[in-house]
């Protein structure tokens, strides 16, 4: 049961980047991303500089680049969207490699690609160097309302359990020759989701009982003396 070894996105290490306070890292990430997004798409050199900054931070953190690249695949659906833009956008057209494409679409695609990729890399660097519970403390220190922090704490705690459960159900499905390729398989996926929910709910209830048994009254106690 849920004997996960930490967070799949977290890359264990002891570098300066790992040890920096989480709330600082969140603020830096936010500032960096805002800067990247606010930069006009035509300032090509600026994007090169941003990439260099990320490369330096990643280098200092000693997280392998391949580790980050593998995880940035999450961006792929939007890459596809970006690649389509030059062909479907309107406005004056230009020729690239013999293909007629929209100029504004081309620029938009480039900007989307550059900004999206930089954002993804920056976030993944944070994820790789910060344990989820440190992130929670960081957000708490940044005055995220306590109800949200509480929900998030439980969510982070149970994500491993729920995804583990889901993975086992997937393995069980696929070892019986199932693969999700077309809508006819929806009922199977939907029933899996239902079963997943029941399991998660029952666990939630047991957790609730365990909390009540230790005097929980509906408010998380403030526990000081944490490192």
């Amino acid at each position: 049961m849920g004997a996960g070894h930490g967070h799949k996105l977290h890359y264990h290490g002891h570098s300066v980047v790992h040890r920096a306070p989480a709330h600082l890292k969140i603020l830096v990430l936010l500032g960096f991303t805002v800067l990247v997004v606010a930069t006009p798409g035509e300032w090509y050199a600026a994007f090169g500089a941003y990439l260099l900054v990320i490369a330096v931070v990643v280098g200092v953190s000693r997280v392998p680049a391949t580790y980050l690249l593998k995880r940035s695949l999450i961006e792929v659906p939007f890459l596809a969207f970006a690649l389509l833009l030059p062909f479907v956008a309107h406005g004056p057209r230009t020729d690239v490699l013999g293909l007629s494409v929209s100029e504004s679409g081309l620029l938009a695609a480039w900007a989307l690609l550059a900004k999206g990729t930089l954002g993804v890399l920056a976030s993944l660097t944070l994820a790789a160097t910060t344990e989820p519970h440190e992130l929670l403390h960081g957000l708490e220190r940044l005055r995220l309302p306590s109800q949200l922090v509480q929900i998030m704490a439980f969510m982070v705690r149970y994500l491993d359990v729920v995804t583990g459960e889901m993975q086992r159900m997937k393995v069980a499905r696929e070892s019986r020759g199932f693969s999700a390729r077309d809508p006819r398989q929806w009922p199977v996926l939907a029933r899996s989701a239902g079963a997943l929910f029941i399991r998660s709910y029952e666990r939630g209830e047991r957790v609730h009982l365990a909390m009540l048994s230790r005097g929980y009254t509906g408010r998380m106690p403030r526990i000081e003396g944490r490192p």
Partner: protein
């Protein structure tokens, strides 16, 4: 359909960000009415579940796939205010740890996939619950229908936002048709998952489904009466 950084222009991102702050603020106040000491762990679990199922991509048509949004489902399970908090937490974690949806687009994503699906889903659910016979066994159907409509509604809001602050000029008519078309299909998947998830919970533990509780109060009293007779 998580919106990444830089997809919408700065004014639009800021406007949706401000709107999201207002909505989450309202939800924080509203959730106090839904909260009992059971809610925080349950809300965390709903968030974890929505998070996990958002990774469960289901095939739609040639080459495209959609994922569960979960707003209507969460609203029926824990109540609309708490649901919005759950959804916001999901998007926050996704943007920080999984780079799914940009941080500067967090407000946009909360409005699109959180507020829209929760509000549309919950209102439609309450409407259906009022119109249809008051039986707990109909709750999954009502939840499913509400979920089905909530997805294309989110797609329409997306088109609206894109019209206001898109960074490439696409034909809005085509975009609307494509988005709503694809998301109607996704909505059917969403409806099926919501229906089955709610049905399996209502079957085992109807008291855990927020949206079914008003229908349950009466039923529970009847059971109590027979239980008293049996043991007295």
């Amino acid at each position: 359909m998580h919106v990444p950084n830089g997809f919408l222009d700065a004014p639009t991102s800021m406007a949706t960000g401000a709107a999201a702050v207002v909505c989450v603020g309202a939800a924080l106040a509203g959730a106090r009415r839904e909260l009992d000491d059971r809610t925080a762990p349950m809300a965390g679990l709903v968030a974890a579940f929505v998070f996990a199922t958002q990774m469960l991509n289901f095939p739609v048509a040639a080459g495209t796939s959609g994922h569960l949004l979960g707003g209507a489902l969460a609203a029926v399970l824990v109540g609309p205010w708490t649901a919005l908090l759950c959804m916001s937490v999901v998007f926050l974690v996704q943007s920080l740890l999984f780079a799914d949806g940009g941080i500067t687009a967090l407000g946009t994503n909360i409005i699109l996939m959180g507020v829209t699906t929760v509000v549309v889903g919950w209102l439609l659910f309450v409407l259906l619950r009022a119109l249809l016979p008051k039986r707990p066994s109909l709750v999954p159907l009502e939840a499913g229908l509400a979920a089905m409509v909530s997805v294309p509604a989110a797609a329409l809001v997306f088109v609206g936002l894109y019209a206001a602050g898109g960074t490439a000029d696409l034909s809005l008519g085509e975009l609307a048709v494509a988005m709503v078309g694809v998301h109607t299909l996704i909505g059917i998947g969403e409806a099926a998952i919501t229906f089955l998830a709610v049905a399996s919970i209502v079957a085992v533990r109807p008291d855990l489904v927020y949206g079914a509780r008003p229908l349950l109060a009466r039923r529970e009293l009847e059971i109590r009466a027979t239980a008293t007779e049996a043991t007295a």
